[in-house]
């Protein structure tokens, strides 16, 4: 039982109450949740002391859901309703899943993202992921004894916009406030760098269950700067299992197995892979539905041979990342290994050979991402420690739009530091053209058809002019989560169209609401209660933030009237906060936010001046 805390007389117990925040590693194979407790990042275990939650979700006919070990145990018996490695389907269409045909699921081709038909109805990968996140949220709330201010969710660095958006949607659906999407190798670098007071250029090699990332980071005096990142969001430990599985089929002259047998042999293949990390050979046995018994020995040597080209597939992204960073192998001071698949000796050997040094494995490769994410969540929630650092991350893939002839015009190049904004002007092709369709794509290839299509929208109402006379400015803005927002504007008439790049791949807020309502755990009353609680939490945080800002800078940056206006909006919010009308609270929040825009800008200007040694910006003119 927790002890009650009593503060020293005269001191308030909690001048700034510690805000509960967590880091979540939503992995292909396993997921984890971690938090910072007493200044130390720790993984939160379940009631049985297990840190890793298998990323497996099973849907039952009575609409109940099993997540983790219980679901994993039944994957061979109920393969079609037991979803493993759902991360591979996030933000992906059916045509993206190439090898997906071998999987035991009933896929439904939906616009944007594939869906899965289960005994409990059609499920989107976002909903499946949300089930995993929900279990971790509840685990954290029980362990920490309160509701969470927010969470940092990690994503592979090489995830594109559609995959990131899907992850963020899943978190929202699980009732989590997303403080930030954080790239997995970057999270690992934080955990590693702070632990070792590292300085210099490091490479993070992250081979997870289904994704591969390589990030090159420069660590200097509390700044973590990602110089370049590369990877393959469809390459991971699962593929090594699959090689063993195919070998097993061949060895035993098997073909066209049913889903349960496929699942069973894949499970055996994974166990064999893990065995071969420590042993020279391993024996796989299984009883198939046909009555046939499998009993096959696999040696480390054979396994390495059959998986060699998978390992080699990770080398090309490494060379590209180095080239993009403008560095050579000799410039890399250390290599950090992340992800369970880096335990394989052939992977460690290949990385050591490539970099000419033994990689660092002193942090648990399964936990380091969650630990780093928790450290960042703690900072983002506003629980500042004395030691502060700055994280500068990048987008992994170029963003652009389609121009004439199906060609891609890049607007933001890959490895641009985020947040970033870039605008480019385009013009009309025909006389009298009054509309323009904008096709947003992501990728490095010249042909639009080789890139990922993110969104299509139309800018209408362009005044008719001769071809080439209209000036249409398209602005791309990528936020600190790596998510894109696009606006198009005809400069002469001011006709504007804005899209957050969601429609093709992401879920609309309405869809999220519908999914929340659909799920049996959320009756209408719960929805209301939850919306109210969320608005109340947000309102209190906002009031505290504005109060602090006013105390610090109100008198210096605002006149009496300006201060009074903000205080008026604060009073308005405080008044509705006593009610249970979440719509009214939301309106008052918006009003207070609007009332503080000019103040926020003045404060930012002050921060900028302070950064350059207290000089005022206007004094800096040469």
């Amino acid at each position: 039982m927790a002890l009650l805390q009593i503060s020293e007389p005269g001191l308030s117990a909690a001048p700034h109450q510690h805000r509960l925040a967590v880091g979540i590693d939503l992995g292909t194979t396993n997921s984890l949740v971690a938090t910072v407790r007493n200044g130390i990042s720790v993984v939160l275990n379940d009631e049985n002391g297990r840190a890793l939650l298998p990323s497996v979700v099973r849907y039952l006919a009575d609409a109940s859901v099993q997540v983790g070990e219980a679901a994993q145990a039944l994957q061979s018996e109920d393969p079609a309703n037991t979803i493993v490695s759902v991360k591979r389907f996030m933000g992906r269409g059916l045509s993206d899943l190439g090898s997906g045909s071998g999987l035991p699921y009933r896929f439904v081709d939906a616009p944007g993202m594939v869906q899965l038909r289960t005994v409990a109805g059609i499920k989107s990968p976002v909903e499946v992921s949300a089930e995993i996140l929900k279990v971790l949220r509840i685990r954290a709330e029980n362990a920490l004894g309160g509701s969470l201010v927010g969470a940092v969710i990690t994503v592979p660095a090489y995830f594109d916009d559609a995959q990131r958006q899907a992850t963020k949607d899943a978190a929202k659906l699980a009732g989590l406030n997303v403080l930030r999407l954080l790239n997995e190798p970057t999270a690992a670098a934080i955990a590693y760098g702070l632990d070792n007071a590292a300085e210099g250029v490091y490479a993070v090699y992250d081979l997870g269950g289904g994704t591969f990332d390589i990030s090159i980071l420069k660590l200097s005096r509390g700044v973590f700067e990602v110089l370049a990142t590369n990877g393959n969001s469809a390459l991971g430990g699962d593929d090594f299992d699959h090689r063993i599985y195919c070998w097993l089929l061949e060895k035993n002259n098997l073909s066209a197995l049913g889903a349960p047998d496929t699942r069973l042999l894949l499970t055996r293949a994974r166990a064999a892979k893990e065995e071969l990390t420590e042993h020279a050979e391993t024996r796989m046995t299984a009883n198939l539905r046909s009555g046939e018994a499998i009993d096959t020995v696999l040696t480390q040597q054979d396994f390495h041979a059959m998986s060699q080209n998978l390992v080699e597939h990770t080398l090309q992204p490494m060379r590209r990342a180095l080239r993009d960073a403008g560095l050579r192998v000799e410039d890399i001071k250390g290599v950090v290994m992340v992800g369970g698949a880096t335990r394989m000796p052939q992977v460690q050997r290949a990385v050591a050979e490539f970099f000419g040094q033994v990689p660092l494995t002193n942090l648990d490769p399964d936990k380091v991402v969650a630990l780093g994410a928790a450290i960042q969540a703690n900072v983002l929630a506003g629980n500042r420690g004395g030691d502060d650092w700055l994280l500068l991350d990048v987008i992994p893939l170029s963003l652009g739009i389609e121009t004439m002839g199906g060609l891609t015009e890049k607007i933001i190049p890959r490895n641009s530091t985020i947040p970033t904004a870039r605008a480019q002007e385009f013009t009309t092709f025909k006389d009298g053209q009054t509309a323009m369709s904008v096709h947003v794509v992501q990728g490095e290839r010249e042909l639009v058809s080789d890139c990922r299509s993110l969104a299509k929208f139309e800018l209408r109402g362009i005044p008719p002019m001769v071809a080439g006379a209209a000036r249409i400015r398209i602005t791309f803005q990528v936020d600190a989560d790596g998510l894109l927002n696009v606006t198009a504007r005809e400069l002469g008439s001011g006709v504007e169209t804005a899209v957050t790049v969601k429609p093709s791949y992401g879920l609309s807020d309405a869809e999220i609401t519908r999914m929340l309502q659909d799920s049996s755990q959320h009756a209408q009353d719960d929805m209301q209660a939850r919306a109210l609680r969320e608005q109340q939490v947000e309102a209190r945080q906002l009031l505290e933030a504005v109060q602090n800002a006013l105390a610090q800078d109100g008198a210096a940056l605002l006149d009496q009237a300006g201060q009074a206006r903000i205080r008026g909006s604060m009073d308005g919010l405080r008044a509705v906060l006593q009610t249970d009308d979440h719509h009214a609270i939301k309106r008052a929040i918006t009003q207070l936010n609007d009332a503080t825009v000019a103040f926020a800008q003045a404060r930012m200007d002050k921060s900028v001046s302070r950064a350059l040694g207290g000089r005022k910006l206007t004094d800096l003119e040469m």
Partner: protein, 178 residues
């Protein structure tokens, strides 16, 4: 943008003199100092208004840093501050000997690509780097000393050609790798 600092040019933003020659270490130091104050990570627990302003500022500082830390972009930007357009897309009248050299470069890169000769590509890359440094030194003289911006625009156009060669070398490396 009503923020006063937003009207400042990128050099003023970093508190550096508007010259082509630049103290790169100081630029980076000031870049980090600015981001430490304004990055969205420092505002995530604050109000929506502060988060939005932070994102706009942080994006602008990133853009400014990308511009000033890249030799070609820095030159282009400096010329634009002096009201000179480097005309890289429109003015293609380059000296004949320069164009001849370009053709030789392209042939050499293409040959190395065909032969999958990584050592040769490495050699070409370091030769190109050497040439780029030469062009940058010329640019520094033309912009900072002679203040001959029209002549500098010519050098920026050459730089653009050299950048394209660098891209071709990179894509040749990629092609050999695949």
């Amino acid at each position: 943008m009503s923020v006063p600092g937003f009207q400042q040019d990128f050099f003023q933003l970093f508190g550096l003199p508007a010259s082509y020659r630049l103290d790169n270490a100081l630029l980076e130091q000031h870049y980090h100092a600015l981001q430490e104050q304004i990055h969205p990570d420092k505002f995530s627990h604050l109000s929506e208004a502060e988060r939005r302003v932070s994102m706009q500022w942080s994006a602008r500082v990133n853009e400014a840093y990308q511009t000033l830390s890249n030799p070609a972009r820095r030159a282009r930007y400096l010329l634009s501050l002096h009201g000179v357009d480097s005309q890289e897309e429109t003015n293609t009248a380059m000296p004949a000997d320069f164009l001849m050299e370009q053709m030789e470069w392209r042939e050499a890169i293409e040959e190395a690509r065909q032969a999958r000769d990584i050592a040769e590509l490495d050699k070409l890359e370091s030769r190109l780097q050497h040439e780029l440094h030469g062009l940058e030194a010329q640019l520094a003289d033309k912009i900072d000393i002679a203040r001959d911006y029209a002549a500098a625009a010519g050098s920026v156009r050459k730089l653009k050609f050299m950048e394209r060669l660098a891209e071709e070398i990179a894509s040749a490396f990629d092609a050999i790798d695949t």
